[in-house]
Amino acid sequence: MIGVFQDAVRRRQEVIQENIVPGQRVIGWMCSYVPEEVIYAAGMYPVRVWGGEEPTSHADSYLHVNMCSLVRSTLEQALRGKYDFLDGFVTLNTCDNIRRLYDVWALYQKTHFTHIMSLPHKVTENSIGYFTTEVARLKEGLEAAFDISITDDSLLRAIEVYNRSRSLLRQIDELRKRDTPPITGAELLDVVLAGMILPRDRYNSLLEELVGALEGEKAPNGNGGTRLLLVGSELDDSEFVRLIEESGGMVVADDLCTGSHQYWNLTQADSDPLRALAQRYLARPDCPRMHPSEGRLERIRGMIRDYRVEGVIMAPISFCKLHCEGGVDLSHTLKAAKIPYLSITREYNLTSAGQIKTRVESFTDIIRGI
């Protein structure tokens, strides 16, 4: 059952191509603050834009090497033509790296529709009102670029569909609270990532089946390892998590934008779907770009308690300023709470697997008192 999701992630480009309905527009998005529902409501196919395995030789001539490897790898894919099939590219001013990726993409790529949303840095009535206008602007941008109309009804339907995904994923996530969860951290990451590739309706059907299978699971998949919370920058390679879980760890919770942030909270749909979406996306678990940082720290403390976490692995991507600097106050918080933590600064593509394995093994040994 999990294999379907893993296959979607491994063959992501081909799977997207296999699922495009003739005549359907495909809109690439980057960053989990993008309200996908608007793209779905437009009858379009939203797909996550991310990097690949190739070296970033082309991208490095556009974006300096001090920019994170995620955006350089993503740009590399675009420059190699891997995203030529996209009709649009949507993102936000999430961080400096993504901002400049967008500027370069908009200037040098020939994507028909490019759009960057302005994302507030805090959650207040004022910022929700502002972000509502930004969600509306995205809607209007799609309507103008593709000569379509996105109705409130279609938005409400989209909200319902995405809420369903999130509810199902939350149900799966809850199972990780068990002593021996029926799904590993690596497997759940693939399940979540697959939702950024597969058409949403098909994805929901697969999730329904998976929930049924997991809840009835008698033989646990959990490896009995040290219960870990994984925190960090964008992660779309479950091999990293698998490595941790083969080194004595068991990832039972995460604070990842490609993980629990995707499904943690639902949209409270009412008569104003745009505002409802703005509210949901702003109020979702905080990225370290959000102010104040206490919101994020409080959530992490809650997860440590609720998932009976024994240790935290912080895994920022090198040059990811938000997560690297966000890790400073997180490490102090963990230290004050006497929660063991390990910081592994990584690259977008998995490198130094041997070193990571050794470090995680030592970390889990220390926690277990070995």
Binding site: R99, R289, F319, K321
Partner: protein
């Protein structure tokens, strides 16, 4: 946790040293603006010190929040980054101690060096403990997180003035409400009420200073340029410390009059101005003498840099204070105007136009190792200014405050190679 007394002692030392500088300047013939500069700086540090000694509220501010608001509410402040740069310029021993301390606190080594210095100062107790921290989302991720960290070090409340990614109608409305919320925050935390008439008066003074600052920028377009590369940073220091004060106006007026006289005499910075340089970022702050070296070695005068670029297309009206405070940062150099999509703010075209307006012969961009906000624009600027405009364009790798990344000598070698190639060409 650092003690209050340690910070007071440090600031008292600064005020005393500034006082000494002023006395020495008075004893010899010096430019009027120079004397005013040091007096303004002493007043600024003196106000902060007095607040602490008297148990009055003190703000630690970022570079871009509305400082005029603090003046209007009589709440002294000091800008953490400016202070860190000033201290970091003192000696290499101090600088490295600050970096080590910050890195020991957990800051990665690739973080912006002025920011590491700021955290180092905080952890070492070498500055006044604030009661509040007020910062902005402009202009980069590191600025955003720095003040979160500082508020955490000091255990004090903080307010982030958000920066919409476009100042369009909705962005303006959001930002205006945010400023109003800041006012409420300050009133609540300090017990002081904002007098809007007082604010308008402060803004009139601020505008007057900004108007002179823009005129200074216009004077730099003259051939030969009447002022050298170091000017921008000094001017910006007063923009940040003294906007909204009479002494701020006095400084810029004096500066303008001095430079106007030079222009009328046809006097440039160097005997023979061979190259006009558009320095498309900040000078390396740990060694500003690189600007002097360029002048002496190549007759190359930096006619504009990021800090010295005063945009004139933003109207500031003191009678509309909230609007004024929202739009004011956009006047300040590429740094603020680059916090927007290029397709919206056209900052690449903007900088190309700056090169034309300043009659630049060459464009140089210091690629500050930590600055993704800027390094991400290198290719776009190179293609536009170096490519389409055909201006000789050079990227010099470096760092703002950490010479261990790239030393002065390495930067000079890179610049010399470029200028020699331009000369031969």
């Amino acid at each position: 946790m650092v003690t209050v007394q340690e910070g007071i002692k440090e600031f008292q030392g600064i005020v005393d040293r500034l006082g000494g500088t002023i006395e020495r300047l008075k004893a010899r013939s010096t430019a009027k603006s120079d004397l005013i500069f040091w007096q303004a700086l002493r007043d600024y540090y003196g106000r902060a010190l007095e607040a602490k000694e008297q148990g009055q509220p003190l703000i630690m501010a970022g570079m871009f929040p509305p400082h005029e608001l603090f003046h209007a509410m009589d709440i002294p402040y000091y800008v953490a980054e400016n202070h860190a740069i000033m201290e970091g310029q003192a000696t290499s021993e101090l600088r490295e101690k600050l970096f080590d301390t910050a890195e020991g606190y957990g800051m990665p080594t690739d973080f912006c060096s002025p920011h590491r210095a700021a955290v180092g100062l905080a952890k070492l107790g070498m500055q006044l403990k604030p009661d509040l921290v007020v910062s902005t989302a402009t202009t980069c991720d590191q600025t955003l997180k720095l003040y979160d960290l500082l508020a955490d070090v000091y255990g004090v409340p903080s307010y982030l003035v958000d920066s919409p990614y476009r100042i369009d109608e909705a962005g303006l409305k959001y930002a205006q409400q945010d400023i109003k919320d800041l006012i409420s925050f300050l009133e609540e935390r300090t017990g002081r009420k904002l007098d809007y008439d007082r604010l308008k008066e402060v803004l009139r003074l601020s505008k007057e200073a900004y108007d002179y600052w823009e005129k200074l920028y216009e004077l730099r377009k003259t051939v030969p340029c009447p002022v050298g590369g170091r000017a921008g940073i000094k001017d910006l220091t007063l923009i940040q410390t003294s906007s909204g004060t009479q002494i701020g106006v006095d400084y810029f007026k004096a500066r303008y009059e001095e430079l106007k006289e030079k222009v009328e005499r046809g006097e440039g910075v160097v005997p023979e101005e061979k190259y006009r340089v558009a320095w498309l970022y900040v000078l390396p702050l740990f060694d500003l003498s690189i600007a002097d070296w360029l002048e002496k070695e190549f007759g190359a005068v930096i006619v504009v840099d990021s800090f010295g670029y005063a945009a004139s297309d933003i109207d500031l009206n003191p009678e509309d204070p909230i609007d004024f405070l929202v739009k004011k940062p956009l006047k300040r150099g590429f740094v603020c105007r680059g916090y927007a999509p290029n397709e919206y703010m056209h900052f690449v075209d903007d900088l190309a136009q700056v090169c034309r307006d300043m009659r630049a012969d060459v464009a140089i961009l210091l690629s500050h190792w930590s600055c993704q906000q800027y390094t991400g624009t290198i290719r776009m600027l190179k293609d536009e200014i170096g490519g389409r405009m055909g201006l000789p364009f050079h990227v010099v790798n470096g760092d703002l405050l950490d010479p261990r990344v790239v030393s002065s000598e390495e930067m000079k070698d890179s610049l010399a190679e470029f200028f020699n190639a331009v000369l031969k060409g």
